[in-house]
């Protein structure tokens, strides 16, 4: 019997639970609305994190400390972190455009969303109005974690195993799809790379720096070799070799 179990003792809502609920419920709602309304994808994800954290605390309030903590660890800790990982790779300027592609789409979406929320809320309210929660004491009799473990590994063991098999299949499938097979002889380890570097026909030293012995320090200016020739190896391949014209090298007359 712990503090949490006492808090959510059947039928009665204690003061602490009420206060926590009335602080966190608006926060959870704000998070949900902010998630939809935020322009930047990362901000959206952060609002969702807020909602998930509030939900985790709600579970703890409802005498389910294990599921609450697992919600925080798994959803906010791991899954949202992977989301953020991908979003950050997409780039920080990836935000939604404000142009409506379908006319009247936003209004229709708002109306339908509100209607759906009203339907679900009303249905739940009608179904649960006047019922008192029972069975919490029995469920948590030998401890919350032990109770979940007993159910998971006796009654629901088949569903549990099937889910894990499904998840493993999905993970392995994703890996197979993303994996690029490289033949063994294509892999070059460090000694092979070094041997190739010092093999005849390859100059092992650093390439001449661009702009060396030249009139400009631009990377596009090729290096001049000691014998006066220009070296193509000193400039990046994507840049054209270019020397400044006379007009460009003459003084601009800014000191007038």
């Amino acid at each position: 019997m712990t503090t949490q179990t006492l808090l959510a003792a059947a039928g009665e809502v204690s003061g602490g639970e009420q206060v926590t609920f009335y602080i966190l419920a608006p926060l959870a709602l704000i998070g949900a609305i902010g998630m939809v309304a935020a322009r930047s994808a990362v901000h959206s994800a952060l609002w969702l994190v807020l909602t998930m954290l509030c939900l985790g605390v709600f579970y703890v309030l409802q005498a389910g400390p294990f599921i609450g903590m697992v919600q925080i660890i798994v959803y906010t800790g791991a899954i949202m972190m992977l989301f953020l990982f991908v979003l950050m790779l997409v780039g920080r300027d990836a935000s939604d455009s404000l142009i409506e592609t379908l006319r009247g789409q936003r209004v229709a979406a708002a109306v339908l969303g509100l209607g759906f929320a009203g339907l679900v809320g009303g249905g739940l309210w009608r179904a649960l109005d006047g019922t008192t929660a029972v069975g919490l004491e029995q469920a948590n009799a030998e401890g919350n974690v032990q109770g979940i473990a007993r159910l998971l590994f006796t009654k629901y063991v088949l569903a549990f195993e099937l889910t894990s098999a499904l998840l493993i299949t999905a993970a392995v499938g994703a890996m197979v799809l993303a994996h690029v097979e490289r033949r063994k002889q294509d892999k070059r380890d460090q000694p092979t790379t070094m041997r190739a570097r010092f093999a005849p026909g390859n100059y092992p030293g650093p390439k001449p720096g661009p702009g060396v012995f030249a009139t400009s320090s631009s990377v596009a200016t090729p290096a001049r070799l000691p014998d006066g020739r220009l070296s193509d190896r000193s400039t990046p391949d994507i840049l054209p070799v270019r020397e400044l014209t006379d007009r460009e090298t003459t003084l601009k007359g800014t000191d007038r």
Binding site: V42, I73, G77, M81, L89, R92, V145
Partner: protein, 451 residues
């Protein structure tokens, strides 16, 4: 006798009964412990690393340089707080606070000692405990990642972003390993509450060897050695400490996710790093090193070592020892390359951990068999494993070519090499120069020095 000590162990029912002022005192104590640990921890680290590098370390501000961190912190408070133009202002502001809050919150479920009497109240020396306290610790450390990741993203520049990405990948990988090592502790202790785990490490089973009742070691660091080693390695990865400090690798990423941070926000990041290090040490002590219990020989000679306020001493001593190990690692090991680091996490630590949990579960399930069938069940697989390791055909090593053979194998047109048996004759000039030089006859003044 034993029952007296067990009564000192708080159970879950002892929590949640404190008056509000006692809760406040405990919370403030845990917070102050985190801050003080940072102040002293930075000093400790710099001094110890200095000693390892044969130099004094900070020794000017205060006795033994103890106030150096305070001076640095004050200086940092007066620095200009730079907000980069490309930064995401709100997230940039909140990211360091997330790091600090998560690091400090974890201290709330760490047991500092047994039941004591504070102003007449009989209360455990721990802010709070829940049936899933260890999961609270894991949740704190997994939320702490947001601090570095968001800091890196919100800075709006490349190096911090790369640091943030690295830290998210790193922490997710090592959290898996960490969670799996804790599973072994859960299986052995049968509880997830930190005070329960400390209590479970206290009453080691008694072995009877040659007629003597010998108390077996109860610490999980000994009973679950593989878990302990893997857990500590992954805490180093989880706290971004060397040799796993890839998110803030100076040689690659300037300062990683905190490159753009300055002034107090930077100080918050530093604070969170050191608080996380101390918190993780405290968690390791709680889970594996017997928590606040006195080390083995002390209780044999001094029965009262585990009661009253003394346990705090053992607890802090163990924490300082682990912090020293953190510093020691930093002073000794070079930073890993990123792919090596990931390979270590996923291909070494994780499989070892899984196999170890399997073995442990097997051992637990044959616990109540009689000793003969136990011996058979353990001995036959162990024997097969031993034989397989001994008789496994090893690959024949290729004979290494001599230097001359390597030289002969070089393709035509390679760089010229001197002959391998080249003997450099002594230069004829060296002897003459030495011989013809006369000793300098300069009157040595009082302050003249050999240069």
């Amino acid at each position: 006798m034993n029952a007296v000590y067990l009564a000192q162990d708080p159970t879950l029912a002892d929590f949640g009964r404190d008056p509000w002022w006692l809760v406040l005192i405990k919370v403030v104590f845990a917070f102050a412990f985190g801050l003080l640990a940072t102040l002293l921890g930075v000093w400790f680290e710099r001094r110890v690393v200095g000693r390892m590098a044969v130099r004094p370390g900070p020794n000017q501000a205060g006795p033994f340089g103890l106030l150096q961190t305070l001076a640095d912190g004050l200086k940092m408070a007066f620095k200009e707080d730079i907000l980069p133009r490309a930064a995401d202002k709100v997230v940039f502001f909140f990211a360091p606070t997330i790091s600090v809050i998560c690091a400090v919150t974890a201290l709330a479920v760490v047991p500092f000692g047994p039941m004591v009497s504070i102003f007449g109240h009989w209360t455990p020396l721990q802010v709070t405990d829940v049936p899933v306290a260890v999961l609270v610790l894991l949740a704190c450390s997994s939320l702490g990642v947001y601090g570095s990741v968001l800091g890196g993203w919100a800075s709006g520049s490349t190096y911090p972003l790369l640091g943030g990405l690295r830290s998210s990948a790193q922490m997710i990988s090592y959290e898996v390993t960490m969670g799996l090592s804790i599973v072994a502790v859960f299986m052995t202790a049968g509880t997830m509450s930190t005070s329960g785990i400390v209590a479970a490490q206290g009453d080691g089973t008694r072995l009877s060897i040659a007629g003597f009742e010998v108390p077996a070691p109860g610490w999980y660091a000994i009973l679950l050695l593989p878990s302990f080693v893997i857990f500590f390695i992954s805490t180093v990865g989880e706290t971004n400490r060397a040799p796993f400090d890839l998110p803030e690798a100076e040689s690659e990423l300037v300062a990683g996710y905190m490159t753009e941070y300055s002034s107090l926000k930077f100080a918050l990041y530093m604070l969170s790093e050191y608080v996380a290090m101390v918190t993780m040490s405290a968690v390791t002590v709680t889970l594996f090193l017997g928590g606040w219990r006195a080390p083995a020989p002390i209780t044999t000679f001094w029965a009262g070592a585990n009661s009253g306020w003394w346990p705090m001493l053992w607890f802090f001593a163990k924490v300082v020892m682990l912090v020293f190990v953190f510093v020691w690692l930093r002073g000794t090991l070079p930073r890993l390359r990123y792919d090596q680091f990931m390979r270590l996490g996923w291909k070494v630590l994780l499989p070892i951990n899984l196999v170890w949990i399997l073995v442990l579960a097997g051992l637990r399930s044959i616990e109540d068999w009689d000793s003969r069938s136990k011996l058979i069940a353990v001995g036959i697989p162990a024997g097969i494993l031993l034989l397989a390791t001994l008789l496994w055909p090893s690959r024949k090593p290729k004979p290494k070519p001599t230097v001359q053979e390597q030289v002969n194998d070089r393709p035509h047109g390679s760089f010229p090499l001197p002959p391998m048996d080249l003997q450099v004759p002594p230069s004829p000039r060296t002897r003459r120069v030495v011989a013809e030089r006369e000793p300098a006859n300069i009157a040595a003044g009082p302050d003249s020095r050999e240069v």
